[in-house]
């Protein structure tokens, strides 16, 4: 069993794993950070998106060994009911989620976009989120919410 030092949501945390290839996703969920969801394990759906060193990353595709020393942010670290991130406020205002299983990944992909592009066009948002799948059909509300969170009319 090896130990891995991780920096998650601003905190130093140690994860034990027998397998260096264990995906970060499983490590996060075992630490109780269950906002990040398993969707495909193939990097195809975006449900497990987290931000690693400023970029939206599929946590099912990054090995725990490779996550060491990097700044990892999950939805829990982005904001909370007490101190919501503007995207979380906007997603609530627009009543975006239906089942909501994809919502965490959607918000994290959008947060990474807004870090690099504070006023994206709707096309920019569509492009940034094209790898995030939603089956309930919440897309039009996601677009509105991301535009609203960036201070624009969706």
């Amino acid at each position: 069993m090896a130990s891995y030092d991780l920096r998650i949501n601003g905190n130093a945390q140690t994860a034990e794993a027998a397998d260096a290839d264990k995906p970060l996703l499983y490590v996060l969920r075992e630490l109780g950070l269950t906002a990040t969801k398993f969707g495909c394990g193939l990097g195809q759906c975006g449900a497990c998106t987290v931000i690693v060193d400023g970029a939206a990353v599929r946590s099912c595709q990054i090995r725990v060994a490779d996550a060491q020393g990097k700044m990892i942010t999950t939805l829990e670290g982005l904001g909370s009911a007490a101190t919501p991130h503007p995207l979380q406020t906007a997603f609530i205002n627009e009543q975006v989620p239906q089942c909501g299983y994809c919502t965490s990944g959607m918000i994290m992909s959008a947060a990474a976009l807004l870090q690099s592009n504070k006023t994206p066009s709707e096309d920019d948002v569509r492009t940034a989120l094209d790898g995030n799948l939603c089956r309930c059909g919440s897309h039009v509300r996601v677009l509105r919410a991301v535009m609203a969170a960036s201070g624009q009319r969706g």
Partner: protein
């Protein structure tokens, strides 16, 4: 004062009477929501004829609703409390909501068929009205006045003339209502509504945005092991041998085998995943699948077809008037997956005496009997508790995962969590069935429908089937009832328009290539695609504007209004039927469709504007306009969300989705081989909600799905002159249609 109210004062009904059972259940370390449900361990009456089955007035002034229908993301967690709060006279935030727990909630049937509100909600409305009447009578008695002098508001019964009231909690004083649901209890006048009809926010949304909502997938119990089930290499294959040593290098893992049900369990979830990948097992040949290519046409020649005439109105003409034209066309809708974003998951704790199963099933109550049977336990010893999963739209793998977990838990004597992998979900979820639909019809020279005949080749639901057969009991050799369930897939196969004669014939197939299950709006997306495309073909042949053509055949004023308002959203100018005249690289067109769901429920008008790239055959849906009349609207934002979802999900199904398979198993097992709609394909959507507060509320969860296929196909025809009659409208298929080869 009547006898019922008197009974209320002395209600100490014995635990064993009236379907009541005693529930004592607690688990350390369970999720807040589950423990909240477990905490409600009082004696529960579950008989749905009883008011107490549905609601309880708590000492703190809140009211708990016990709802057999569940929230899958469609918004029942606010809509049902709105209905009950309105009818009771209490603030909606004073309502607590418990859903889909066989030990706590009455059986209101499966959450399906868009009936959460129109059936489940109306039962709860009647329970609340009965309760309000009882509360008013109690207050009147206590104050020595007449019931008609009182009203309810804010959780109080108050004199209409003003002055102090008495709270519900004081009146009930910890007792139960002990009242039968009164079907005649006076309902409030919709004109007085202050809660129903408002776009109140769904209570689960903040937690879903902060990551604190406890999904089925996030739920854990102490001492639980993680399992992964290894499905056979081919459908119907039997397990010949398993090499347990093949996983010996992965710590803490173990093989569990119950006949042909094969799994690995581990303390560590990732180790279970790894073990499931390296485990060596030998399987027999499978039962074999048909050849996919040509499946549609082969359905006509399946052995064992049983014919049934479903609709027979008027007499087909033996001689048609001069100038009449006869048309015929065949449409096909393929097998599709529910394609849930999160693969199915469940937790079960089963021993020789009892079973507790946490599941995202849309039918916990119905499954209680099924699970009891294959576990060999009395029904009352089996408890299924609903926890929300990844969106399900009929029946995905949730119930299979629950059966996996239950059988494995019993086998190893510990609670087990089963999570399917992506390839399990797309490969093994029960599929929407294939539907082959042939329509022939005749139209008069002046543009009226003369004859109409629909013939459908579709799998037949097995009569009396309690549940669709689940994978695990079958593999484990446990008791299960074989058969098919596809949902009510034969509805809406006849047009809603006037015709001299209409016939609908079902050629029932006795089997389906892959295990079928109802999938959102069962059968209707295909039937309405066929019917409303054919109507468009008739209109085109008659040279009549498609909106005008439909209006001529409609008498129902609600149908007419929906269609007219859809046309208005589209800025539709009536003109003789003509194709959009564009010869450019990208052809633009518009199409329309109308559906009266099940001919008795929600009215939907659907307009679409599309662009078709001629060189590639790629279709882009640019704009969708939908007018929607589901009667009395409980929560307009909830209805909008359901319409948006219905439209986008069905655009995905129409443009992209078909389960592919070889002779042994499903091939479309990831998002590359089973693509669904992405943001790049999302159109602008305009919705016009028609609220009819004095009408019955009707389902809004799936009616709009039914109108999507034809609106899209008709728009492509308008743009290009090509008719698309086979779903999905892939670029290859569109290109063939454009060159007249389809």
């Amino acid at each position: 004062m009547n006898a019922q109210i008197k009974a209320l004062h002395f209600s100490r009904r014995a635990f064993v009477q009236g379907g009541a059972i005693t529930v004592g259940f607690a688990l350390a370390g369970v999720s807040p929501r589950a423990s909240a449900q477990s905490a409600a361990t009082a004696t529960r009456i579950l008989d749905s004829k009883e008011v107490d089955a549905f609601l309880a007035v708590n000492g703190d002034g809140t009211v708990t609703l016990f709802c057999g229908k569940v929230d899958l993301g469609q918004g029942l967690r606010i809509a049902i409390p709105q209905i009950a709060a309105e009818e009771l006279g209490i603030d909606v935030d004073k309502i607590k909501f418990i859903e889909g727990d066989t030990a706590l909630t009455p059986d209101q049937g499966r959450t399906s068929g868009s009936n959460g509100i129109q059936r489940g909600g109306m039962q709860i409305r009647q329970a609340a009205a009965t309760a309000r009447k009882a509360l008013v009578e109690l207050a009147a008695q206590r104050l020595n006045a007449k019931p008609e002098d009182f009203e309810t508001a804010g959780g109080m019964v108050k004199p209409k003339s003003g002055g102090a009231g008495i709270s519900f909690a004081d009146l009930i004083a910890g007792k139960q209502f002990d009242l039968k649901l009164d079907p005649k209890a006076q309902l409030k006048n919709p004109a007085s509504y202050t809660i129903v009809g408002k776009p109140l926010r769904r209570p689960d949304v903040p937690a879903k945005c902060f990551g604190t909502h406890v999904y089925m997938h996030d739920f854990a119990v102490p001492n639980m092991l993680h399992a992964r089930v290894i499905r056979p290499a081919a459908i119907g294959a039997k397990l010949v041998s398993v090499d347990e040593a093949s996983i010996k290098d992965i710590p803490g893992t173990k093989v569990v085998r119950v006949k042909d049900l094969l799994a690995v369990v581990a303390d560590d979830e990732w180790n279970a995943v790894r073990a499931s990948r390296v485990l060596r097992a030998q399987w027999s040949e499978g039962s074999g699948l048909p050849v996919q290519n040509g499946l549609a046409a082969s359905l006509r020649n399946e052995p064992g077809i049983v014919d049934e005439t479903l609709v027979n109105k008027g007499t087909p003409a033996t001689q048609r008037p001069d100038g009449a034209k006869v048309l015929a066309a065949t449409y096909y809708w393929p097998m599709q997956s529910h394609a849930s974003i999160g693969p199915s998951c469940a937790v079960a704790d089963v021993n020789n005496e009892s079973a507790t199963v946490w599941t995202a099933s849309q039918g916990t109550h119905g499954n209680q009997t099924t699970f009891a049977k294959f576990l060999g336990l009395p029904k009352e010893k089996v408890r299924l508790i609903y926890l929300e999963g990844s969106g399900c739209y009929g029946m995905n793998g949730h119930e299979d995962a629950a059966a996996d977990a239950a059988i494995l838990s019993r086998a190893i004597g510990r609670p087990v969590r089963v999570q399917w992998m992506r390839e399990d979900e797309l490969g093994w979820d029960p599929k929407g069935p294939p539907q082959l639909i042939g329509i022939s019809g005749a139209i008069s020279a002046d543009g009226h429908i003369l004859d109409w005949r629909t013939e459908m080749w579709i799998p037949k639901t097995t009569r009396g089937l309690p549940n669709i057969p689940l994978l695990a009991p079958e593999a484990a050799g446990l008791e299960h009832v074989p058969g098919l369930n596809t949902g009510l897939i034969s509805q809406n196969a006849d047009p809603p328009y006037a015709a001299e004669s209409i016939q609908v014939i079902a050629h029932w197939l006795k089997d389906a290539p892959l295990r079928p299950a109802p999938i959102r709006s069962p059968g209707k997306p295909a039937n309405c695609f066929a019917v409303e495309s054919f109507v468009d073909e008739l209109a085109a042949d008659a040279g009549v504007d498609p909106v005008e053509f439909r209006l001529r055949g409609l008498k129902d004023p609600r149908a007419i209004e929906v269609l007219k308002r859809t046309a208005a959203l589209m800025k539709w100018q009536s003109q003789p039927y003509q194709l959009a005249s564009s010869n450019g690289a990208v052809a633009h067109g518009r199409g329309i469709a109308f559906v009266h769901y099940k001919h008795s429920e929600t009215y939907v008008g659907m307009g679409m504007e599309v662009a078709v790239e001629r060189a590639t055959g790629r279709i882009a849906v640019e704009r969708v306009a939908c007018a929607h009349d589901c009667g009395q609207i409980i929560n307009p934002d909830g209805v909008r969300g359901q319409i948006e979802g219905s439209i986008l999900q069905t655009i995905s199904r129409v443009l992209m989705e078909e389960v592919t398979f070889d002779r042994s198993h499903v091939l479309s097992v990831d998002w590359g081989s089973y693509p669904i709609l992405r943001f790049s394909g999302v159109p602008k959507i305009d919705i016009d909600l028609i609220d009819r507060p004095t009408e019955k509320p009707l389902g809004a969860g799936e009616a709009a799905c039914a109108a999507v296929g034809a609106a899209l196909a008709n728009a492509v025809h308008n743009a290009t002159g090509a008719r698309l009659r086979t779903v999905p409208f892939t670029p290859e298929r569109v290109k063939l249609a454009l060159t007249g080869k389809a």
